[in-house]
Assembly symmetry: C5
Homo-oligomer: 304 residues x 5
């Protein structure tokens, strides 16, 4: 079967080429910004919710690397001939790295959401295991149909694996909805509840873009189609990674502050959102060192 049908094998006009470079670069830079910001702001939430910040940080870090690769491969994968850009054998690599990224980042999105949700202990761990597995299988089966089999040009394989991938997507949707609904009930009356609901809606809506784009792959193949596909996916990645990550970070801050105010946890610095103070900084208690401490082996009692 020929490669000619794949969207990344369409010839691009100058404007289409410009717009794709623009979309890929802007997404890459936005992801970079969130990555660096997360890297230096892990201490603004308490340890209880910090896994959410770490997840957001690694998601955007990975996606940034993936977009660097996309930009480089897009530059190498098309050659200018007059007023057109003609794809070469590498053009598929300006598309496929999205799957590499998603295979790792979608499981991390599940971790990110659960880190600030209201499940705890074994229940949280069970749901997390299910979510990570579903997310991994959703992307890897999608990769088989969308890229691996006949370089993504086999419509039958596209549909078969698309359906299998879709089953795991349904599992993920159920999981996300369950977590958000439960969280909304458990956190009712706190500002975190509204943000959690919005984050859930954002995820559910944004994720719809991916199967639509996946399906489009089997249809039209002009330069305009691949241009739209790249622009929509770049925008979806910004929303699902940077926008969603910002919401998770906000929930983590709101819940950290709630814990500090309730005396459940301590945080040495005051928490603020939009110049409104959520909680004061509080230091933990001091240990009482007993007389044998200087020998380095003393037992200690907590002083209170």
């Amino acid at each position: 079967m020929s490669d000619a049908l794949a969207p990344w094998n369409a010839t691009l006009s100058l404007a289409e080429h410009s717009i794709i470079v623009y979309a890929l670069s802007v997404a890459g830079l936005a992801l970079f910004a969130f990555f660096v910001k997360s890297l230096v702001s892990t201490n603004e939430v308490s340890g209880r919710y910090r896994a959410g910040v770490y997840a957001g940080m690694t998601i955007t870090g990975i996606a940034f690397l993936s977009y660097v690769l996309l930009v480089v491969e897009f530059a190498l994968g098309y050659e200018r001939r007059g007023d057109s850009w003609v794809p070469n054998a590498n053009a598929i690599l300006s598309w496929a790295p999205r799957y590499f990224d998603w295979t790792v980042t979608v499981p991390l999105l599940v971790i990110e959401l659960l880190a600030v949700a209201t499940l705890a202990g074994a229940a949280a761990r069970r749901l997390r295991a299910v979510g990570i597995a579903a997310a991994f299988l959703m992307i890897s089966t999608g990769f088989i149909g969308g890229v691996a089999v006949d370089s993504g040009t086999n419509t039958g394989a596209l549909w078969l694996w698309g359906v299998i991938s879709g089953v795991f997507m349904v599992i993920l949707y159920v999981l996300v909805i369950y977590v958000v609904v439960k969280g909304g009930r458990d956190l009712a009356g706190t500002p975190a509840a509204a943000t959690l609901r919005n984050a859930g809606i954002l995820l559910i809506v944004t994720w719809l873009a991916y199967p639509i784009i996946f399906g489009l792959q089997g249809w039209g193949h002009g330069g305009a189609v691949i241009t739209w596909m790249q622009v929509v996916l770049s925008a979806a990645d910004i929303v699902a990674k940077v926008g969603f990550g910002s919401m998770i970070h906000k929930i983590a801050k709101l819940r950290s502050a709630e814990d500090v105010r309730a005396g459940v946890d301590t945080l040495p610095e005051a928490l603020w959102i939009s110049s409104e103070k959520l909680s004061d900084g509080v230091l933990p208690g001091t240990v009482a060192v007993d007389d044998t401490a200087l020998s380095g082996r003393g037992e200690r009692r907590v002083r209170r």
Copy 2:
């Protein structure tokens, strides 16, 4: 339509080529310095204003990446023939990445300004949303007319999209002026008021460079024109990102110190500007751990 009209398609003299490399490199290095400095100094302001430091950090980080790309593409985009540098098909990439950078950094500049301004809560969030949208649309519509349509050589498109972009610019100007005037009133009598006013003026004046350069694109196209365009934009980026960022950082320090002195917040280290002490270091209060703490599940009362 031919590319011949675009400024990046002018042949450069040796001196013009040298001066552009110089301008791009100096701007890149200055942005790098501010980025690294911000990365390690986030703890010098309190959490209330830290979003301003994060914004300055990510703005300069993104712009540094963009200038690395500009320098590399400028090296690849021109070929030496005798005493001239002749542009090739890549030359546009020594210009277009500025739009990639601005699309992310101008919205971040809005966040940076609002982080140290005097709006709070829903009002701050509303204004921020408007500002981010206006900034994004200002740059992306500018990109359509200035680069995407006919590679930026279509004077009609340049004017049409320039006007649309300009409308968003007016919205941004109104927003900045409103924030600065309100801040000046709210902070009246404090040193932060003067710095906020200066930062606002700096932004308003520097930003004028961008539409002027945008307009120039449709006019003259000798090597001298593109040289001036590159030099002015490099200088404007230094002023609007490093200079403005320094002012925002100063306001964040001044306001943090004011909060510490007023007992509204704590900061473990003393704040100084130009060897003058603004506030002493203050630790937060200590939590009182109750007797069940050792079991890891105890409720705690704040000791005071």
Copy 3:
């Protein structure tokens, strides 16, 4: 002797090529995520167990660099001809860097395990020395037979050095089993015991993949064989480095919390796993500064 027998000299189909790039990239990104996360979370465990976090951090950092190299060399080592990818002289470099990585990371895995185990003092140091030596010799002798002699195509050398390498592997297995069994006894009744046992089992099972793949090298050489080899090793690296590292990190947290609760150590922030609190944050005691302190030479007594 010809290179033709080595698995990396098999011609790949398009799908095989895609799947190998996918496996290498996904492993690389997962390792990157764990590396960055470890880098910023070293303060979540007490100093006693932190060597385990450092080991996990450097293991994934090194493996990430190694996978970057594998991806680049895989791109350079095969050339597309029609619907096939034909290996060139560089193809061996899309395989050999695994040995460079393992030579450093397997000894570090020993350090990682011992850091959270229950051996202390001279006994710990002795076992660590033995384990590091066995791990280094296991990999370096494997490299001699699997890559260095006749570019890994000499079946006799493969078997000879494979057996020598296997002897060191047996030593490592004995060491791991001893540490895990002893740890299970010493920690009996704590949650750390179960996690330590699981981590040991995971290591023992995963490591079996490596000699199997090593042996396969002397057998079949179609594209399917090298594809399976690359996929299995990539998966094994994720499990043995990221999965195992997460378990070690969990043990380090559990044991840190146990120490804090027992008053043996302090940690300024509360420890949580899956939203369950393990220990409260506790500050250490304060030193009593005597009157000569201002001169900078005063002796001090610990205040308690």
Copy 4:
């Protein structure tokens, strides 16, 4: 006018080529070491003097990037023919990046010196503004004559712009001497006074190398001349950036310790130089949280 006169257009012997690579690489690595060390040691001085550490960090970071560029361009700019290395059109880029670096780092050197000097408030800010302007103009005018006009081969332009640049250098010298003399008087009797004086002398002496090398550019042009120029400038950069930076860091530590001992500032860790203790660690006071703190809006009084 021909390029033949510029020093970077001389053919190099094998030994000259080796020595230049050696000088550039050693300088680059030394700058890297100071950069990384500064990056992680910013908390060893109090906030009052930390701008000096930041300046040293960014100066060496920028200069490291610049030397990476110099090494790469030196590799690309000369081609081996038998036992000689013959420059090509890129050879100027193994020289010109020094100006890119200096344009940013010399103003930062002014900030570095003033950060630990004894001026405060408006006087410090005024002097800093003058120093930054003079430093920027000194280098940028030097660049015009030394590189931009006729690729640095126009002896008339070299002299004209050299003299203009020299005027700004005189201003800088007066500034440095004023700051050092005033600092020597203000700090008389403290160890910081001697180090400040030595730092001033070191700067004044080292900076003399730059105009001498600048002047040499118009004279001799054999391989030996460019070799000496590269070696001397590399050495001068090490001394003026790493050596001077170490002195500034020492002054910052000495003055921080003095402030801690005098009760003007706090620093949580003891300061030591060469195993001699300068000051004990001191924590700041604790805020008294009033009863409304749990609501997150309470006013607080400092407890003392």
Copy 5:
């Protein structure tokens, strides 16, 4: 004089080529691991000994960069012809960068050793100045004979500069022995004494490899010779940088703990080695803020 005599101009067999890549890569990765680990663990020793940790960090950082260069240049410097790898004009660059590294790292090794030794004040500074100078001169004179003069093929120059370099080596040996013997006496009875002695012996033995390899350069020149030279130097670099650095880090921890136990210094976290506690965490005293503190200008008394 021909280059044919230099060891880097010998043709390599496939196995020799593999082994050199292996040795260079393993050394590079081990150095990377130590660099990253040092970067995040600087707070585990007190400020008094931290210069030793910084030195170990920058030594391994620089050496890592150097090995990256060696690996890249080794890949570029040899070309495959049948079953051999034939050196080209760049082959010398897979050897010479070792000198760039050593010129900076050997002086840093002196700083590393002295940072944890028992000399203080002016005596320490004097010895450090002598050691840095001797180390720099030992390497730079070695570079002249071993690389610069006739590309290292002039046996007369090799011997002349080798002897000069050797004189500085003797000075370094005397210095190291003096420091270790004096340290052994001053620290007698503490665990730090034994580790310091071992570190000294390790340095003295490992350094012997370098002059031996240097001398070999003038003798045999087959592929086996350069292979051994590269392997031995890679191993020596691991031992002298990572092994020695680990010992210095251990001494720094042991002495920090001793200082904390003796009340000479404070460290907020407990120190442990191999699961044995060396010292408890201790906070410094709190400053007493007087009534004028809120104005930001108050004098303070230390509260005790």
